[in-house]
């Protein structure tokens, strides 16, 4: 009568089908998987830039000589600034910075041209908006370039040809024009894939706990490792699909070079997603309700975003903190995904950054499998 087989894969297959059906059945979760990540990718790729664009500055020029006019023209002619305001009175400088019209203002003294013509050093006062210290520093940098070339030209005109002792020529490898989008978009693919994989898994067990269906699974003949695989595989399928969607969007929407090997990228992405699914399932296995799961996800997300090297370089962190960053899988995957996108990262390098993620995955998955049983109290 009983044809129940020893085959352990049938229950797992049933679990997987159920998980995918559950996500697919729900129209809302179906849309959530596709639309918001794409919108976020498009919007965030433009928002998360460190370039300083669309900046206005102001000039209060009290000098009417040729040299100050020339300097003003050069500044106005440069592509960095959206608008250059001419101030007629000194108070305008303060007002304009207060109103955040400009991030920086120049003040040229009445005797500027005279001093230059006489071969003296002419001071230029530069007032920066300290509230935006980073951006104003960058703008000041742009301005300095203009000053330097102007200095050189004046000296040449005046017949003093001083060869510059050092001339710095910048050239960025792998991102020759320092396009920030080259840097942000691959990172965004990683971040968005991570958030989705986390969401899909972090809720999966706690939702079942909340609905009482997890009890049904626990009283069934399923072993914890079977439940684990049954929870893990659908999440992997969904997350890999999601990442693929994002990659396709990136390659079509942006002209980002893809230099490396697609196989290596998928290999490392699968490892990365395993580690994220592990973390998600772990969060889920210790939470009783979906609400707790969401909180748990946030508790994990905040340090991840701040310590992964996306927001600030890891090298700038205090030495004791730097090793801690290794526990965040996305830190390693950032290096890999940028490496594969922008330079043809060799296999050995990819492996070098992949193994910490393998460890994280093994550890968290084993822990959550154990927690399935532990949480019986």
């Amino acid at each position: 009568m009983k044809k129940q087989i020893k085959n352990v894969w049938l229950p797992i297959r049933t679990l997987i089908i159920k998980e995918i059906l559950a996500v697919w059945r729900d129209k809302k979760s179906r849309i959530t998987l596709v639309v918001p990540p794409l919108i976020q990718l498009i919007i965030l790729s433009h928002a998360a830039t460190l370039d300083v664009n669309n900046i206005s500055i102001g000039i209060f020029n009290q000098d009417s000589g040729w040299y100050s006019q020339e300097l003003t023209q050069r500044i106005k002619g440069s592509p960095y600034f959206k608008h250059v305001y001419d101030y007629k009175k000194p108070q305008s400088i303060r007002e304009s910075i207060d109103k955040q019209e400009v991030i920086l203002a120049l003040h040229l003294q009445p005797n500027f041209s005279k001093l230059v013509a006489e071969g003296n050093t002419a001071p230029v006062q530069v007032i920066l908006d300290g509230r935006k210290s980073n951006a104003s520093q960058i703008v000041f940098g742009y301005l300095n370039l203009i000053f330097q070339s102007y200095n050189r030209d004046i000296l040449k005109d005046q017949g003093i040809d001083v060869p510059e002792p050092i001339s710095i020529q910048y050239r960025s490898f792998f991102n020759p024009n320092i396009e920030y989008i080259y840097f942000t978009v691959p990172s965004l693919v990683a971040i968005l894939s991570m958030i989705l994989a986390l969401m899909v898994t972090a809720m999966s067990v706690s939702r079942e706990r909340e609905n009482g269906t997890f009890d049904q699974l626990l009283v069934s003949p399923l072993q914890p490792w079977q439940i684990l695989i049954g929870k893990m595989m659908p999440a992997m399928v969904i997350s890999i699909g999601e990442s693929t969607l994002l990659m396709i969007a990136v390659l079509f929407l942006y002209n980002i070079p893809f230099k490396g090997s697609l196989i290596l990228l998928y290999f490392s992405m699968i490892i990365f997603l395993f580690s994220i699914v592990g973390i998600g399932l772990f969060i889920s296995s210790i939470c009783k309700t979906q609400q707790q799961s969401i909180l748990g996800t946030f508790v994990f997300m905040t340090p991840t975003m701040l310590l992964s090297g996306y927001a600030t370089p890891i090298e700038n962190m205090p030495p004791w903190l730097q090793p801690v960053t290794n526990i965040f899988p996305i830190k390693h995957f950032f290096i890999i995904i940028r490496g594969i996108f922008l330079k043809d990262m060799p296999t050995l390098e990819v492996l070098r950054y992949s193994w910490p993620m393998v460890l994280i995955a093994l550890f968290t998955l084993a822990l959550s499998g154990w927690m399935f049983k532990r949480r019986l109290e």
């Binding site: 129940q4 085959n7 049933t14 089908i17 003949p221 019986l376 109290e377």
Partner: protein
């Protein structure tokens, strides 16, 4: 209070849900009077909740109209909400707030001024006897107390019409009596009360009943007249329950279809379930104290007790879902928590709360549970089809399990726990909230299975169900205060005052005796 003689006019009311071909309600006409309790009865899926929601203006009628104290539910929906109180099946209490915080919240929602509040609260707390529990979290109240608090909250707006959707589901007999008393007092004040229920004893006590079946109004009038209407054929006087079953197309009694094709289990000598000194503590709270019993193969063993007595805790320890603090619980000689999956393959489990996958269809749920229990190929298909035909699930196969009427949810849950033909079946309040027809059908199956050698452990708070059990343990305050056959329990309380005790008498007397003995 309005002197208007009629409270609610229902005129050729019909409701068809989008995407559904069948009408949920079809041409209902009724006039409901204030000052009495009008019962809304019928099997699950009859349209009781739909009718109540139409009366509150939460649903729009497809045709016809409802008029409550002169207000049309469509045009005057705003003003209608001021004069109606509606208590859905699961009232929206905030479980993380205390009793008084819940009252405060609902008082604020109903715009009750601070001045009035203290007086109204005092009245409500007295009325519900919740006075001593004002600082307790609503989530920690028993089922009966929750319903009373829900009732108090829906009364805060001083409604002229009170619509109660199955208020006594999940409430133990003692609390049910209290709840009924409270609502009768309200009716006496002139409030119009509609009480939907699937308990026939309650229906019998209503002044008038509306009997719905499959969206049609089968009977409207005093309960006594139902029996008259049915027995018109000349039969002698019949009871209300018989009349009810008769009008709905007769009884399911007889051999259970389920067990007809079931082979008998092999007889084993070892006890199916063995519990030794089982104790469970949650912090300071002892949910189960020193419980011991042994259940033989083919026995129906009932755990009977009021809400919150610890029935579910004992039950979960047996299934391996809770770890006992002391003692052990063995099923066929195994502790289920550590048992190999072969041992768990021998049990079936049906949880108290509906715990199938709500987003999956009926068919998908059946597929899922058969797969999890390792049924394959032809055997799997036949088992699934058998369940579909036995529990008459065919019309619902493609529907999401979460949207089924309660009775069908319970049928599906039973089906899912049975497909692998377990030796031991755990049923946690399987008939809570289902109508008498389904309840009868369930017990028919249960008794049939027991006859075939399946051991059944069931919890219930229905006294009448306990009569069907071979043996009962009466659980109260975490302890087993008495156990034995139903006869033996009645024998225990037989006295001069109670020469022919019913099981309900035994239940109440044993609890009282225990309370007196217990040092406080």
């Amino acid at each position: 209070m309005s002197k208007n003689k009629d409270a609610i006019h229902i005129t050729s009311l019909g409701k068809t849900f989008p995407g559904s071909k069948k009408a949920a309600l079809d041409n209902i006409n009724a006039v409901i009077r204030p000052g009495i309790i009008t019962g809304l009865i019928g099997p699950d899926g009859a349209g009781k909740t739909t009718l109540l929601r139409l009366m509150t203006g939460l649903l729009l009628p497809s045709h016809g109209k409802v008029n409550v104290f002169g207000l049309d539910t469509v045009q005057d929906a705003e003003r209608l909400h001021d004069i109606t109180g509606y208590m859905p099946q699961k009232f929206g209490l905030y479980e993380d707030l205390t009793v008084i915080e819940n009252l405060n919240l609902y008082a604020a929602l109903h715009g009750i001024s601070e001045k009035e509040k203290s007086e109204v609260f005092e009245k409500m707390l007295h009325f519900t006897s919740l006075g001593p529990f004002t600082t307790r979290l609503a989530g920690n109240l028993s089922g009966g107390m929750k319903q009373k608090l829900g009732l108090a909250c829906s009364l805060l707006g001083k409604p002229k019409a009170l619509l109660l959707d199955e208020p006594s589901v999940g409430v133990d007999p003692v609390s049910r009596r209290e709840l009924w008393k409270m609502v009768s007092d309200l009716a006496a004040e002139g409030i119009c009360i509609v009480w939907s229920t699937s308990y026939l004893d309650e229906a019998d006590r209503c002044s008038e009943i509306l009997l719905l079946n499959e969206g049609k109004l089968l009977f409207y009038g005093p309960p006594k007249d139902l029996a008259k209407q049915v027995s018109k054929g000349g039969k002698e006087e019949i009871g209300f329950e018989e009349a009810f079953i008769e009008i709905l197309g007769g009884s399911h009694r007889g051999e259970s279809v389920l067990t007809k094709h079931m082979s008998s289990k092999k007889v084993k000598d070892a006890p199916s379930i063995q519990i030794e000194n089982l104790t469970k503590k949650f912090g300071d709270f002892t949910a189960a104290r020193d419980i011991s019993f042994t259940i033989k193969q083919g026995e129906i063993f009932g755990l009977l007790g009021p809400n919150g007595a610890g029935k579910s805790t004992i039950f979960k320890m047996l299934c391996g879902l809770l770890q006992p603090t002391e003692g052990r619980a063995l099923v066929s000689g195994y502790s289920l928590k550590t048992a190999p999956s072969e041992a768990r393959l021998r049990i079936g489990y049906m949880a108290q709360k509906f715990s199938l996958y709500s987003d999956l269809s009926v068919k998908e749920n059946l597929n899922f549970f058969s797969g999890v229990y390792g049924l394959i190929g032809h055997h799997r298909q036949t088992q699934i089809e058998k369940m579909i035909s036995i529990f008459e699930l065919t019309p619902y196969l493609a529907d999401n399990a979460g949207l089924l009427p309660l009775g069908f949810k319970q049928r599906l849950a039973l089906a899912c726990s049975l497909m692998h033909e377990p030796d031991v079946l755990f049923l946690d309040e399987p008939t809570s909230g289902v109508d008498p027809l389904v309840r009868e059908e369930f017990w028919n199956h249960i008794q049939g299975m027991a006859a075939k050698g399946v051991t059944i452990m069931v919890t219930t708070h229905f006294i009448e169900e306990a009569e069907y059990c071979d043996r009962i343990a009466l659980i109260y305050g975490g302890s087993s205060i008495a156990s034995g056959t139903p006869m033996a329990l009645k024998e225990m309380v037989r006295s001069k005052a109670l020469p022919k005790p019913t099981l309900e008498d035994a239940f109440i007397t044993l609890i009282e005796q225990f309370d007196q003995r217990r040092p406080l």
